[in-house]
Amino acid sequence: MVVEKRTRDVGEIPMCSMADIAFLLLVFFLVTTTINTDKGIGLFLPQWGDQMNVPKKNIVNVFINASGEVMIADDPTPIPLIEKIIRARLEAPGMRDLLIVSLKPDKATEYDVFIEVLDQIKLAEADRISIAEVEK
């Protein structure tokens, strides 16, 4: 009698589906990765307790009141004109590196208006912007 040798099962993980599994994972991570970046107006805040004395003639004060009206120095100004006025001030001889635009919002000013004004000042390419403390 001939005893047949049983073929031994060799435990193997099927490799051909590996690519499919990897693809599935890949698609998952592709979908969950968010590409949209955070955008906004970049600024450096001054250090706490850091105070500077600046001669008055180098400062342009931009006041914003509670209802969102803007005054540059002493002139009431509509918001879309701020860029022009600040730019003109910056282009005065020797002022580019000296001029500080000081933003002075009221405590009840809405953030929306503040950003609009800040945007205008940024558009005028002013580098030195100060945000004044609101008066309580």
Partner: protein, 138 residues
Amino acid sequence: MKFNRKSKVKSDIPTASLPDIIFMLLFFFMVTTVLRLFEGLPVDLPEAMKIQKIESRRHTSYLWISSKGLMSFDDARVSVNDESLYRSASNRVNSDPQLTMSLKYDKKVPMELINDANNELRKANALRVNFATGLKVR
């Protein structure tokens, strides 16, 4: 007379290394993905024209202030009155000096609250900030 074809050129792309390539892509996306469960407070961002991108999400923390005055730093509720904002911000800055703060403030927040929040950030030495806005088209 019979012409023999000289050689049969095999025109197959080798697929044996395909899993390796896919895995490489997979690892790339796994490493670059930052999973976030918390989406922040509901805020209506203002819009601006002169905006910049924040380069790295990894070095970014978020501060939300909603129109109701609720405040949240990354995933935790904070407040300007009990130093909780100061403490979380300064912990974060100490562990990552390259930190950029993305400030997601609602349109309607009064400047008084924003001033307080910014002062807490200044105390915590989180000085590089970015006022988050949408893009306004002229």
